[in-house]
């Protein structure tokens, strides 16, 4: 076995490896996107859920909370908050912010209308029903 190994060979391995695994990744992505409808119950995405996601984004909730474990780690996980607390608690909590307790972490008051509050709850309800391979480990999230 020859010991010489040229830079050209290394470059070919780089190109071959990159293309190979990117094609494999595209294949897996195709299979995932095909199989998602059975897992994310997208048929339940109502207009309220869409509006709720829009509110979630325009108030940058992900700047303090995590959702399905992704986001900031300053405030509780909200992927399963609907199961943990229920819709009414969520609405009351959002309306009642900030607590003003000295030294405690504060959530801003977003002055959401009742319609917007319902939309956010619908979005969080839909998110809590995604098949996440039963993550998080418990109800605390």
């Amino acid at each position: 076995m020859s010991e010489t190994f040229t830079k050209a060979m290394a470059r070919n391995i780089f190109y071959g490896g990159a293309v190979f695994f990117f094609l494999l990744f595209l294949g897996l992505t195709f299979d995932t996107v095909q199989g998602l409808p059975k897992r994310d119950h997208r048929e339940n995405i109502t207009d309220a859920v869409v509006r709720g996601k829009h509110i979630w984004e325009t108030r940058d909730c992900v700047g303090c909370h995590t959702i399905l474990g992704e986001g900031a780690y300053f405030a509780p996980e909200l992927g399963n908050v609907y199961k943990r607390r229920g819709g009414d608690f969520i609405k009351a909590w959002i309306k009642g912010q900030p607590t003003g307790a000295p030294g405690r972490r504060q959530m801003p008051q977003f002055n959401l209308t009742d319609q917007q509050l319902d939309d956010v709850v619908e979005f969080l309800k839909w998110t809590s029903e995604i098949n996440t391979n039963n993550w998080p480990p418990n109800i605390q999230g």
Partner: protein, 459 residues
């Protein structure tokens, strides 16, 4: 500095360090908010401070990458930059857009900012790291295209070396994967799936190409080792990067609604992701040991070696700790992720930029290296910053483990906030270490001005 147009890199480096200071200041604000929840509330709520912290990080690293490209491409291609004027115009556009975005975050509630900047037309805001308003995102694309046009034309009309080709691939990849930030479906699972195409395929894909190219360039200049050897190592390292990193994206697809097989592919391939970082460390030390010249810039050598080690520790070791699916089931969305994030980002992308700046800045100012005393100060800065990041990571890892134990294990797990109250000690320690980091950064900046007048060695 062989070519006049390399001077364009100087403002980019200065802007990069300026934004870096801003990032650290907001990091300290957030660190304090972790322990005193209502600090600066309601003027700067935590999520706004976080937006500024993360966006400043990404923007200053992009400034660093662009400065590095404007410095090394002319030297690699052995020809003047295609259009220094275009580079300067783009510099001001990108800087102004960046500053305006940050002011927008701070001055106006996020919802109003979204309404003002056309988020209702195309909603792309409100996602982690991609909080920028639509005009800023479009501005980033324009600046990136002009930048890529500029350096690609330079390489086309000059010598084509592997380093400049790899750097170009990395930068073109960066621009292409940024386009996924415009895709924001209402289905959260699809949204997250392709959000990772921007985030993961950046930091564990194309950015590692840029990291490899910059490190290879600096090592050639510092060690004088034969270019053929260094570029062969570079290709093998980035081959392993993409071979493991592309399917490695799967370690983000465990719990977001994607099929279960990702738990196997994501775990196996991301478990192999530390290999290229380990190779980079061996590569850096190997080249420095086999150096054929004594480069006066000892500080840059230290930074180059540090980049290898810290990227292996931060991205490799701390990444591997929580990448296997059964482990990630418990560590996902806890302080463990934050610990990995800090050390990986610092070890790989902050340090390679500081390596480049530490190597190129003296040359841009007319001398081959800073004076002895200023290099000593710079080395103090290196150790202060690096060690404080290690401690921040250790404290957050401890906080994460305790958080998991209290909040996710055992018969009666605590609620989120109860668990957070139990780990306050580590947040205090982290905040103090953050100030040590700031001292290190200040020393780093000061070292470029300290006792440098008399050491006017020829460039």
């Amino acid at each position: 500095m062989q070519f006049k147009s390399q001077a364009v890199a100087k403002p980019y480096f200065i802007a990069a360090i300026g934004l870096f200071v801003g990032q650290i200041l907001f990091g300290l604000i957030m660190g304090y908010q972790y322990v005193v929840g209502d600090f600066l509330f309601p003027y700067i709520p935590f999520n706004v401070a976080r937006m500024v912290h993360t966006n400043l990080l990404i923007v200053w690293i992009l400034f660093g990458f662009m400065g590095a490209a404007y410095y090394l491409i002319p030297e690699e291609a052995e020809t003047e930059l295609y259009s220094p004027k275009l580079a300067m115009i783009m510099f001001w556009i990108f800087l102004v857009a960046g500053v305006l975005t940050i002011v927008g975050y701070l001055a106006v509630p996020y919802a109003t900012l979204a309404h003002m900047t056309g988020n209702d037309i195309l909603a792309t805001m409100g996602r982690e790291f991609l909080e920028q308003p639509l005009p800023t995102k479009v501005g980033i694309v324009i600046v990136a295209l002009a930048f890529l046009f500029n350096i690609s034309m330079t390489v086309l009309k000059g010598r084509k070396t592997s380093i400049s080709l790899v750097l170009l691939m990395g930068l073109w990849g960066l621009a292409i994967f940024f386009l996924f930030s415009f895709y924001n479906p209402s289905n959260l699972v699809l949204d997250k799936y392709f959000w990772w195409w921007t985030v993961h395929l950046w930091v564990e894909g194309v950015w590692e190409l840029i990291l490899g190219a910059m490190l290879a360039f600096v090592l050639i200049k510092i060690t004088g080792v034969d270019r053929e050897v260094i570029e062969k190592w570079l290709y093998i390292i980035i081959a392993m990067t993409l071979i493991t990193g592309i399917i490695g994206t799967g370690h983000h697809y465990f719990w977001i609604g994607t099929p279960e097989y990702w738990q196997w592919f994501g775990s196996v391939f991301s478990a192999l992701e530390p290999i290229p970082f380990f190779m980079m460390t061996v590569f850096a030390f190997n080249m420095v040991n086999r150096r054929r010249r004594e480069h006066p810039n000892k500080a840059a050598t230290l930074w180059a070696l540090g980049t290898g080690v810290m990227s292996f520790l931060g991205a490799g070791v701390w990444g591997f700790m929580h990448t296997l699916a059964p482990v990630n089931f418990y560590t996902h969305g806890t302080q463990i992720t934050a610990a990995h994030g800090h050390m990986a980002f610092y070890g790989a992308y902050v340090m390679v930029n500081l390596t480049m700046i530490s190597y190129a800045m003296p040359l841009l100012r007319g001398r081959s290296a800073n004076s002895g005393p200023s290099q000593v100060m710079e080395m103090w800065a290196f150790w202060l910053m690096t060690v404080s990041i290690v401690f921040i990571t250790l404290f957050l890892t401890a906080a994460g483990i305790l958080q998991i134990w209290l909040q996710r294990m055992g018969s009666n797990p605590m609620s989120f906030m109860e668990a957070q109250d139990q780990v306050m000690l580590f947040y205090w320690l982290r905040e103090i270490t953050g100030f040590v980091f700031l001292i290190g950064l200040v020393l780093y900046i000061w070292s470029f001005f300290y006792k440098n007048s008399e050491a006017q060695a020829a460039a």
